[in-house]
Protein backbone atom coordinates (compact mmCIF):
# COMPACT_ATOMS: atom_id res chain seq x y z
CA UNK A 1 0.00 0.00 0.00
CA UNK A 2 2.91 2.32 -0.39
CA UNK A 3 3.18 2.33 -4.17
CA UNK A 4 4.12 5.99 -4.20
CA UNK A 5 6.88 5.38 -1.71
CA UNK A 6 5.03 7.49 0.83
CA UNK A 7 3.72 5.92 3.98
CA UNK A 8 1.63 8.88 5.16
CA UNK A 9 -2.08 8.28 4.64
CA UNK A 10 -3.76 10.07 1.72
CA UNK A 11 -7.05 10.84 3.45
CA UNK A 12 -7.76 11.08 7.17
CA UNK A 13 -11.26 11.69 8.49
CA UNK A 14 -11.31 12.47 12.19
CA UNK A 15 -14.46 12.72 14.32
CA UNK A 16 -16.48 13.84 11.29
CA UNK A 17 -20.10 14.80 11.95
CA UNK A 18 -22.82 16.08 9.69
CA UNK A 19 -26.50 16.85 10.04
CA UNK A 20 -29.19 17.39 7.42
CA UNK A 21 -31.56 19.42 9.57
CA UNK A 22 -32.44 17.15 12.48
CA UNK A 23 -31.04 14.08 10.71
CA UNK A 24 -27.59 13.09 11.98
CA UNK A 25 -26.16 11.60 8.76
CA UNK A 26 -22.51 11.22 9.76
CA UNK A 27 -21.70 10.30 13.38
CA UNK A 28 -18.12 10.51 14.61
CA UNK A 29 -16.60 9.08 11.47
CA UNK A 30 -12.94 8.11 11.79
CA UNK A 31 -11.41 6.67 8.65
CA UNK A 32 -7.89 6.60 7.24
CA UNK A 33 -7.24 5.80 3.60
CA UNK A 34 -3.73 4.83 2.56
CA UNK A 35 -2.14 5.51 -0.78
CA UNK A 36 -3.05 2.86 -3.31
CA UNK A 37 -5.77 1.44 -1.11
CA UNK A 38 -9.19 0.44 -2.43
CA UNK A 39 -11.88 1.01 0.17
CA UNK A 40 -15.39 -0.20 -0.54
CA UNK A 41 -18.15 1.42 1.49
CA UNK A 42 -21.36 -0.57 1.79
CA UNK A 43 -24.47 -0.28 3.87
CA UNK A 44 -28.22 0.14 3.66
CA UNK A 45 -29.57 3.22 1.88
CA UNK A 46 -29.69 6.24 4.12
CA UNK A 47 -26.67 5.01 6.05
CA UNK A 48 -24.63 8.05 5.06
CA UNK A 49 -22.20 6.29 2.74
CA UNK A 50 -22.74 8.63 -0.21
CA UNK A 51 -22.48 11.64 2.08
CA UNK A 52 -19.19 10.28 3.41
CA UNK A 53 -17.87 9.86 -0.12
CA UNK A 54 -18.97 13.36 -1.15
CA UNK A 55 -17.49 14.92 1.99
CA UNK A 56 -14.00 13.87 0.93
CA UNK A 57 -13.96 16.41 -1.93
CA UNK A 58 -16.25 18.75 -0.04
CA UNK A 59 -19.26 18.41 -2.31
CA UNK A 60 -20.85 18.06 1.12
CA UNK A 61 -19.66 20.30 3.92
CA UNK A 62 -19.26 18.85 7.40
CA UNK A 63 -20.42 20.27 10.74
CA UNK A 64 -17.68 18.91 12.93
CA UNK A 65 -14.35 17.09 12.86
CA UNK A 66 -11.58 17.36 10.28
CA UNK A 67 -10.75 15.87 6.92
CA UNK A 68 -7.19 16.06 5.66
CA UNK A 69 -6.13 15.19 2.14
CA UNK A 70 -2.47 14.54 1.39
CA UNK A 71 -1.49 16.11 4.70
CA UNK A 72 -3.54 19.29 4.21
CA UNK A 73 -6.89 20.09 5.82
CA UNK A 74 -9.63 20.56 3.20
CA UNK A 75 -9.88 24.19 2.12
CA UNK A 76 -13.25 25.76 2.80
CA UNK A 77 -13.73 27.43 -0.57
CA UNK A 78 -12.18 29.30 -3.46
CA UNK A 79 -9.05 28.46 -5.46
CA UNK A 80 -7.56 26.17 -2.82
CA UNK A 81 -10.70 24.03 -2.77
CA UNK A 82 -10.78 23.93 -6.59
CA UNK A 83 -7.15 22.75 -6.55
CA UNK A 84 -7.97 19.99 -4.08
CA UNK A 85 -10.91 18.84 -6.18
CA UNK A 86 -8.73 18.72 -9.28
CA UNK A 87 -6.63 16.10 -7.46
CA UNK A 88 -9.61 13.98 -6.41
CA UNK A 89 -11.52 12.37 -9.25
CA UNK A 90 -15.23 11.75 -8.82
CA UNK A 91 -17.55 9.36 -10.59
CA UNK A 92 -21.26 9.89 -9.96
CA UNK A 93 -24.21 7.55 -9.94
CA UNK A 94 -25.87 9.51 -12.75
CA UNK A 95 -22.63 9.99 -14.77
CA UNK A 96 -23.08 13.78 -15.01
CA UNK A 97 -21.23 14.10 -18.29
CA UNK A 98 -21.41 17.68 -19.60
CA UNK A 99 -24.46 17.39 -21.85
CA UNK A 100 -23.48 20.18 -24.27
CA UNK A 101 -19.93 18.90 -24.83
CA UNK A 102 -18.70 16.01 -26.96
CA UNK A 103 -17.20 12.95 -25.31
CA UNK A 104 -13.67 14.14 -26.10
CA UNK A 105 -14.44 17.66 -24.83
CA UNK A 106 -15.75 16.14 -21.61
CA UNK A 107 -12.40 14.50 -21.07
CA UNK A 108 -10.22 17.45 -22.14
CA UNK A 109 -12.09 20.29 -20.43
CA UNK A 110 -10.49 19.81 -17.02
CA UNK A 111 -6.90 19.45 -18.24
CA UNK A 112 -7.25 22.51 -20.52
CA UNK A 113 -9.16 24.84 -18.17
CA UNK A 114 -7.87 23.73 -14.78
CA UNK A 115 -4.37 22.48 -15.53
CA UNK A 116 -3.59 24.74 -18.49
CA UNK A 117 -2.57 21.82 -20.73
CA UNK A 118 -2.33 22.70 -24.44
CA UNK A 119 -5.38 21.58 -26.43
CA UNK A 120 -3.44 19.24 -28.74
CA UNK A 121 -1.74 17.51 -25.83
CA UNK A 122 -5.02 17.28 -23.88
CA UNK A 123 -6.74 15.72 -26.90
CA UNK A 124 -3.94 13.22 -27.46
CA UNK A 125 -4.10 12.14 -23.84
CA UNK A 126 -7.92 12.25 -23.86
CA UNK A 127 -8.07 9.90 -26.84
CA UNK A 128 -5.60 7.59 -25.12
CA UNK A 129 -7.83 7.42 -22.03
CA UNK A 130 -10.98 6.94 -24.11
CA UNK A 131 -9.27 4.05 -25.92
CA UNK A 132 -8.32 2.61 -22.56
CA UNK A 133 -11.95 2.50 -21.42
CA UNK A 134 -13.06 1.31 -24.86
CA UNK A 135 -14.88 4.46 -26.04
CA UNK A 136 -12.33 5.78 -28.56
CA UNK A 137 -14.69 5.35 -31.50
CA UNK A 138 -17.37 7.55 -29.89
CA UNK A 139 -15.15 10.56 -29.17
CA UNK A 140 -17.08 13.04 -31.31
CA UNK A 141 -20.56 12.01 -30.10
CA UNK A 142 -22.56 13.69 -27.37
CA UNK A 143 -23.26 12.01 -24.01
CA UNK A 144 -26.97 11.44 -24.76
CA UNK A 145 -25.98 9.30 -27.76
CA UNK A 146 -24.15 6.79 -25.57
CA UNK A 147 -25.47 3.98 -23.39
CA UNK A 148 -25.29 4.31 -19.62
CA UNK A 149 -22.35 1.96 -19.37
CA UNK A 150 -20.46 3.87 -22.04
CA UNK A 151 -21.23 7.18 -20.35
CA UNK A 152 -19.95 5.92 -17.04
CA UNK A 153 -16.73 4.72 -18.65
CA UNK A 154 -16.31 8.20 -20.15
CA UNK A 155 -16.88 9.65 -16.68
CA UNK A 156 -14.04 7.46 -15.40
CA UNK A 157 -11.82 8.65 -18.26
CA UNK A 158 -12.75 12.24 -17.42
CA UNK A 159 -11.63 11.68 -13.83
CA UNK A 160 -8.41 9.99 -14.96
CA UNK A 161 -7.59 12.86 -17.32
CA UNK A 162 -6.82 15.03 -14.30
CA UNK A 163 -4.18 12.53 -13.08
CA UNK A 164 -5.93 12.42 -9.71
CA UNK A 165 -4.34 11.14 -6.53
CA UNK A 166 -7.53 9.22 -5.83
CA UNK A 167 -10.96 8.62 -7.33
CA UNK A 168 -14.26 8.62 -5.45
CA UNK A 169 -17.00 6.41 -6.88
CA UNK A 170 -20.49 7.25 -5.63
CA UNK A 171 -22.63 4.22 -6.55
CA UNK A 172 -21.17 4.08 -10.05
CA UNK A 173 -23.29 1.15 -11.24
CA UNK A 174 -26.59 1.80 -9.47
CA UNK A 175 -28.16 3.68 -12.39
CA UNK A 176 -27.06 1.16 -15.01
CA UNK A 177 -29.01 -1.54 -16.78
CA UNK A 178 -27.83 -4.92 -15.45
CA UNK A 179 -26.03 -5.89 -18.66
CA UNK A 180 -23.89 -2.75 -18.48
CA UNK A 181 -22.69 -3.13 -14.92
CA UNK A 182 -19.87 -5.51 -15.79
CA UNK A 183 -18.20 -3.27 -18.39
CA UNK A 184 -17.91 -0.49 -15.81
CA UNK A 185 -16.74 -2.84 -13.04
CA UNK A 186 -14.08 -4.25 -15.37
CA UNK A 187 -12.61 -0.79 -15.83
CA UNK A 188 -12.70 -0.21 -12.07
CA UNK A 189 -11.04 -3.54 -11.29
CA UNK A 190 -8.26 -2.69 -13.72
CA UNK A 191 -7.77 0.72 -12.08
CA UNK A 192 -7.61 -0.92 -8.68
CA UNK A 193 -5.00 -3.39 -9.85
CA UNK A 194 -2.95 -0.55 -11.28
CA UNK A 195 -2.66 0.96 -7.82
CA UNK A 196 -5.20 3.80 -7.97
CA UNK A 197 -6.45 4.92 -4.57
CA UNK A 198 -10.21 4.42 -4.64
CA UNK A 199 -13.18 4.92 -2.38
CA UNK A 200 -16.14 3.06 -3.83
CA UNK A 201 -19.66 3.31 -2.51
CA UNK A 202 -21.43 0.36 -4.06
CA UNK A 203 -23.83 -2.53 -3.71
CA UNK A 204 -21.65 -4.72 -5.95
CA UNK A 205 -20.45 -7.32 -3.49
CA UNK A 206 -18.59 -9.17 -6.26
CA UNK A 207 -16.49 -6.08 -6.90
CA UNK A 208 -15.86 -5.66 -3.18
CA UNK A 209 -14.59 -9.23 -2.89
CA UNK A 210 -12.48 -9.01 -6.02
CA UNK A 211 -10.90 -5.57 -5.80
CA UNK A 212 -11.23 -4.12 -2.31
CA UNK A 213 -8.43 -4.01 0.22
CA UNK A 214 -10.92 -3.12 2.92
CA UNK A 215 -14.68 -3.05 3.33
CA UNK A 216 -16.26 -0.35 5.44
CA UNK A 217 -19.80 -1.14 6.57
CA UNK A 218 -21.96 1.83 7.52
CA UNK A 219 -25.38 2.03 9.14
CA UNK A 220 -27.26 4.99 10.60
CA UNK A 221 -24.41 7.38 9.90
CA UNK A 222 -21.80 5.33 11.71
CA UNK A 223 -19.00 3.05 10.63
CA UNK A 224 -20.19 -0.17 12.22
CA UNK A 225 -17.50 -2.50 11.01
CA UNK A 226 -14.42 -2.50 8.81
CA UNK A 227 -12.44 -5.46 7.71
CA UNK A 228 -10.72 -7.21 4.81
CA UNK A 229 -13.41 -8.30 2.31
CA UNK A 230 -13.00 -12.04 2.84
CA UNK A 231 -13.35 -11.80 6.60
CA UNK A 232 -16.20 -9.31 6.35
CA UNK A 233 -18.29 -11.36 3.98
CA UNK A 234 -17.62 -14.76 5.54
CA UNK A 235 -17.51 -13.77 9.20
CA UNK A 236 -19.11 -10.41 9.94
CA UNK A 237 -18.57 -9.43 13.57
CA UNK A 238 -21.61 -7.25 14.22
CA UNK A 239 -25.27 -8.18 14.19
CA UNK A 240 -26.05 -5.16 12.02
CA UNK A 241 -23.64 -6.39 9.34
CA UNK A 242 -24.89 -9.99 9.62
CA UNK A 243 -28.43 -8.76 9.18
CA UNK A 244 -27.51 -6.62 6.16
CA UNK A 245 -25.51 -9.39 4.48
CA UNK A 246 -28.23 -11.95 5.06
CA UNK A 247 -30.63 -9.71 3.17
CA UNK A 248 -28.43 -9.11 0.15
CA UNK A 249 -26.46 -12.33 -0.21
CA UNK A 250 -29.23 -14.91 0.08
CA UNK A 251 -30.65 -14.45 -3.40
Amino acid sequence: MTENGDATPLVVLKDVNKHFGSLHVLRDINLTISRGEVVVVIGPSGSGKSTLCRAINRLETIDGGTITFDGQPLAAEGKALARLRSEVGMVFQSFNLFAHKTILENVTLGPIKVRGVARAEAERRGMELLERVGIGAQASKYPAQLSGGQQQRVAIARALAMDPKMILFDEPTSALDPEMVQEVLDVMVRLASEGMTMVVVTHEMGFARRAADRVVFMADGQIVEENAPDEFFTAPRTDRAKDFLSKILTH
Partner: protein
Protein backbone atom coordinates in the same frame (compact mmCIF):
# COMPACT_ATOMS: atom_id res chain seq x y z
CA UNK B 1 -51.18 54.82 -50.36
CA UNK B 2 -49.42 57.59 -52.24
CA UNK B 3 -48.39 59.14 -48.92
CA UNK B 4 -46.63 55.90 -47.94
CA UNK B 5 -44.73 55.87 -51.24
CA UNK B 6 -43.85 59.57 -51.05
CA UNK B 7 -42.62 59.29 -47.48
CA UNK B 8 -40.80 55.98 -47.95
CA UNK B 9 -37.31 57.41 -47.21
CA UNK B 10 -38.58 58.91 -43.94
CA UNK B 11 -40.30 55.67 -42.93
CA UNK B 12 -37.26 53.61 -43.89
CA UNK B 13 -34.99 55.82 -41.76
CA UNK B 14 -37.41 55.62 -38.84
CA UNK B 15 -37.47 51.82 -38.92
CA UNK B 16 -33.72 51.71 -39.34
CA UNK B 17 -33.55 53.66 -36.08
CA UNK B 18 -35.98 51.18 -34.50
CA UNK B 19 -33.72 48.32 -35.61
CA UNK B 20 -30.61 50.04 -34.24
CA UNK B 21 -32.35 50.74 -30.94
CA UNK B 22 -33.37 47.07 -30.76
CA UNK B 23 -29.93 45.68 -31.60
CA UNK B 24 -28.02 47.99 -29.25
CA UNK B 25 -30.48 47.57 -26.37
CA UNK B 26 -30.86 43.83 -26.98
CA UNK B 27 -27.12 43.27 -26.87
CA UNK B 28 -26.65 45.36 -23.74
CA UNK B 29 -29.67 43.75 -22.06
CA UNK B 30 -28.27 40.28 -22.78
CA UNK B 31 -24.92 41.19 -21.21
CA UNK B 32 -26.45 42.95 -18.21
CA UNK B 33 -29.14 40.29 -17.78
CA UNK B 34 -26.52 37.52 -17.78
CA UNK B 35 -24.49 39.38 -15.15
CA UNK B 36 -27.63 39.89 -13.05
CA UNK B 37 -28.52 36.19 -13.34
CA UNK B 38 -24.98 35.26 -12.26
CA UNK B 39 -25.38 37.60 -9.28
CA UNK B 40 -28.69 36.03 -8.33
CA UNK B 41 -27.18 32.52 -8.18
CA UNK B 42 -23.84 33.57 -6.66
CA UNK B 43 -22.74 32.27 -3.28
CA UNK B 44 -22.31 35.85 -2.00
CA UNK B 45 -25.50 37.08 -0.27
CA UNK B 46 -24.76 40.74 -1.02
CA UNK B 47 -24.63 40.08 -4.78
CA UNK B 48 -27.83 38.05 -4.59
CA UNK B 49 -29.57 40.89 -2.76
CA UNK B 50 -28.45 43.50 -5.28
CA UNK B 51 -29.55 41.30 -8.19
CA UNK B 52 -32.94 40.59 -6.65
CA UNK B 53 -33.55 44.22 -5.75
CA UNK B 54 -32.63 45.38 -9.27
CA UNK B 55 -34.98 42.91 -10.94
CA UNK B 56 -37.87 43.65 -8.61
CA UNK B 57 -37.57 47.40 -8.91
CA UNK B 58 -36.91 47.71 -12.65
CA UNK B 59 -39.29 44.96 -13.76
CA UNK B 60 -42.15 46.53 -11.83
CA UNK B 61 -41.66 50.07 -13.09
CA UNK B 62 -43.51 51.13 -16.26
CA UNK B 63 -41.08 51.38 -19.18
CA UNK B 64 -42.26 54.91 -19.96
CA UNK B 65 -41.13 55.98 -16.49
CA UNK B 66 -37.77 54.24 -16.93
CA UNK B 67 -37.23 56.01 -20.28
CA UNK B 68 -38.35 59.38 -18.94
CA UNK B 69 -36.07 58.89 -15.95
CA UNK B 70 -33.17 58.27 -18.34
CA UNK B 71 -34.04 61.33 -20.40
CA UNK B 72 -34.79 63.74 -17.53
CA UNK B 73 -32.95 62.21 -14.59
CA UNK B 74 -29.79 61.10 -16.29
CA UNK B 75 -29.84 63.55 -19.19
CA UNK B 76 -30.98 66.83 -17.67
CA UNK B 77 -30.43 66.53 -13.92
CA UNK B 78 -27.27 64.41 -13.76
CA UNK B 79 -26.03 65.82 -17.07
CA UNK B 80 -24.98 62.45 -18.48
CA UNK B 81 -23.83 63.19 -22.01
CA UNK B 82 -22.76 60.88 -24.83
CA UNK B 83 -22.66 63.37 -27.64
CA UNK B 84 -22.91 67.09 -28.31
CA UNK B 85 -25.72 66.31 -30.72
CA UNK B 86 -28.96 66.43 -28.75
CA UNK B 87 -30.67 63.72 -30.80
CA UNK B 88 -27.71 61.31 -30.50
CA UNK B 89 -27.58 61.97 -26.78
CA UNK B 90 -31.26 61.12 -26.30
CA UNK B 91 -30.84 58.08 -28.53
CA UNK B 92 -28.20 56.73 -26.16
CA UNK B 93 -30.19 57.66 -23.08
CA UNK B 94 -33.15 55.74 -24.47
CA UNK B 95 -30.88 52.75 -25.22
CA UNK B 96 -29.78 52.80 -21.58
CA UNK B 97 -33.40 52.84 -20.43
CA UNK B 98 -34.44 50.02 -22.79
CA UNK B 99 -31.38 47.92 -21.85
CA UNK B 100 -31.84 48.44 -18.12
CA UNK B 101 -35.52 47.51 -18.37
CA UNK B 102 -35.11 44.52 -20.68
CA UNK B 103 -32.15 43.19 -18.65
CA UNK B 104 -34.50 42.46 -15.74
CA UNK B 105 -36.55 40.15 -17.97
CA UNK B 106 -33.46 38.59 -19.55
CA UNK B 107 -32.14 37.91 -16.04
CA UNK B 108 -35.30 36.08 -15.03
CA UNK B 109 -35.36 34.03 -18.25
CA UNK B 110 -31.74 32.98 -17.76
CA UNK B 111 -32.33 32.20 -14.12
CA UNK B 112 -35.19 29.95 -15.15
CA UNK B 113 -32.75 28.38 -17.62
CA UNK B 114 -30.19 27.80 -14.89
CA UNK B 115 -32.86 25.90 -12.98
CA UNK B 116 -33.26 23.50 -15.92
CA UNK B 117 -29.58 22.50 -15.73
CA UNK B 118 -29.35 19.39 -13.52
CA UNK B 119 -27.44 19.91 -10.27
CA UNK B 120 -25.13 17.08 -11.29
CA UNK B 121 -23.70 19.18 -14.14
CA UNK B 122 -22.43 21.83 -11.75
CA UNK B 123 -21.28 19.17 -9.28
CA UNK B 124 -19.26 17.39 -11.93
CA UNK B 125 -17.72 20.72 -12.93
CA UNK B 126 -16.79 21.47 -9.33
CA UNK B 127 -15.42 17.95 -8.94
CA UNK B 128 -12.86 18.42 -11.74
CA UNK B 129 -11.68 21.64 -10.09
CA UNK B 130 -13.45 24.38 -12.04
CA UNK B 131 -13.92 27.60 -10.05
CA UNK B 132 -17.38 29.12 -9.56
CA UNK B 133 -16.91 31.52 -12.47
CA UNK B 134 -15.51 28.83 -14.80
CA UNK B 135 -18.38 26.56 -13.84
CA UNK B 136 -20.89 29.28 -14.69
CA UNK B 137 -19.16 30.32 -17.91
CA UNK B 138 -18.29 26.89 -19.32
CA UNK B 139 -20.96 24.54 -18.01
CA UNK B 140 -24.03 26.15 -16.48
CA UNK B 141 -24.68 29.28 -18.57
CA UNK B 142 -24.13 27.66 -21.99
CA UNK B 143 -26.73 25.02 -21.12
CA UNK B 144 -29.03 27.53 -19.43
CA UNK B 145 -28.94 29.94 -22.39
CA UNK B 146 -29.64 27.17 -24.86
CA UNK B 147 -32.71 26.13 -22.92
CA UNK B 148 -34.16 29.66 -22.90
CA UNK B 149 -33.68 30.65 -26.55
CA UNK B 150 -37.43 30.70 -27.14
CA UNK B 151 -38.26 32.95 -24.14
CA UNK B 152 -35.35 35.22 -25.07
CA UNK B 153 -36.98 35.48 -28.51
CA UNK B 154 -40.19 36.63 -26.87
CA UNK B 155 -38.25 39.22 -24.90
CA UNK B 156 -36.62 40.44 -28.11
CA UNK B 157 -40.01 40.79 -29.81
CA UNK B 158 -41.25 42.74 -26.79
CA UNK B 159 -38.14 44.91 -27.05
CA UNK B 160 -38.78 45.66 -30.73
CA UNK B 161 -42.23 46.94 -29.79
CA UNK B 162 -40.97 48.64 -26.64
CA UNK B 163 -38.57 50.82 -28.64
CA UNK B 164 -41.65 52.90 -29.49
CA UNK B 165 -41.57 54.20 -25.91
CA UNK B 166 -38.33 56.02 -26.76
CA UNK B 167 -40.67 58.47 -28.48
CA UNK B 168 -41.46 59.73 -24.97
CA UNK B 169 -38.13 61.52 -24.90
CA UNK B 170 -38.25 62.57 -28.54
CA UNK B 171 -36.28 59.79 -30.22
CA UNK B 172 -37.50 59.73 -33.80
CA UNK B 173 -38.13 55.99 -34.15
CA UNK B 174 -41.07 54.50 -36.02
CA UNK B 175 -43.98 55.47 -33.77
CA UNK B 176 -42.93 59.11 -33.41
CA UNK B 177 -42.44 59.30 -37.16
CA UNK B 178 -45.90 57.82 -37.67
CA UNK B 179 -47.38 60.55 -35.49
CA UNK B 180 -45.50 63.20 -37.46
CA UNK B 181 -46.75 61.75 -40.74
CA UNK B 182 -50.34 61.72 -39.45
CA UNK B 183 -50.06 65.46 -39.02
CA UNK B 184 -48.54 66.01 -42.44
CA UNK B 185 -51.00 63.70 -44.25
CA UNK B 186 -54.32 64.15 -42.48
CA UNK B 187 -56.12 62.49 -45.40
CA UNK B 188 -54.07 59.28 -45.25
CA UNK B 189 -54.03 58.37 -41.57
CA UNK B 190 -55.41 54.86 -42.07
CA UNK B 191 -52.98 53.77 -44.84
CA UNK B 192 -50.06 55.22 -42.90
CA UNK B 193 -51.17 53.40 -39.75
CA UNK B 194 -51.45 50.08 -41.57
CA UNK B 195 -48.15 50.69 -43.30
CA UNK B 196 -46.40 51.06 -39.95
CA UNK B 197 -48.28 48.14 -38.40
CA UNK B 198 -47.26 45.84 -41.28
CA UNK B 199 -43.66 47.06 -41.06
CA UNK B 200 -43.58 46.10 -37.38
CA UNK B 201 -44.92 42.65 -38.26
CA UNK B 202 -42.14 42.34 -40.84
CA UNK B 203 -39.67 42.80 -37.96
CA UNK B 204 -41.39 40.75 -35.29
CA UNK B 205 -42.77 37.70 -37.14
CA UNK B 206 -39.43 36.55 -38.63
CA UNK B 207 -37.79 37.16 -35.24
CA UNK B 208 -40.25 34.75 -33.68
CA UNK B 209 -39.71 32.15 -36.39
CA UNK B 210 -35.92 32.52 -36.17
CA UNK B 211 -35.89 31.99 -32.41
CA UNK B 212 -38.24 29.01 -32.60
CA UNK B 213 -35.89 27.43 -35.13
CA UNK B 214 -32.83 28.32 -33.05
CA UNK B 215 -34.35 26.93 -29.87
CA UNK B 216 -34.84 23.55 -31.54
CA UNK B 217 -31.40 23.57 -33.10
CA UNK B 218 -29.57 24.58 -29.95
CA UNK B 219 -31.49 22.43 -27.47
CA UNK B 220 -29.24 20.32 -25.25
CA UNK B 221 -30.18 16.66 -25.62
CA UNK B 222 -30.11 14.84 -22.30
Amino acid sequence: MQALIDEFPVIRDAFWLTIRLTLASGFMALVLGTILAAMRVSPLPVLRTIGTAYVNIVRNTPLTLVIVFCGLGLGLVLDVSFSTSLSTNYLWLSIIGLSAYTAAFVCEAIRAGINTVPVGQAEAARAIGLTFMQNLRLIVLPQALRSVVAPLGSILIALIKNTTVAAAIGVGEASLTMKTLFEAHGDAVVPIFFGFAVAFLVLTLPTGLLFTWLSKRLAVIR
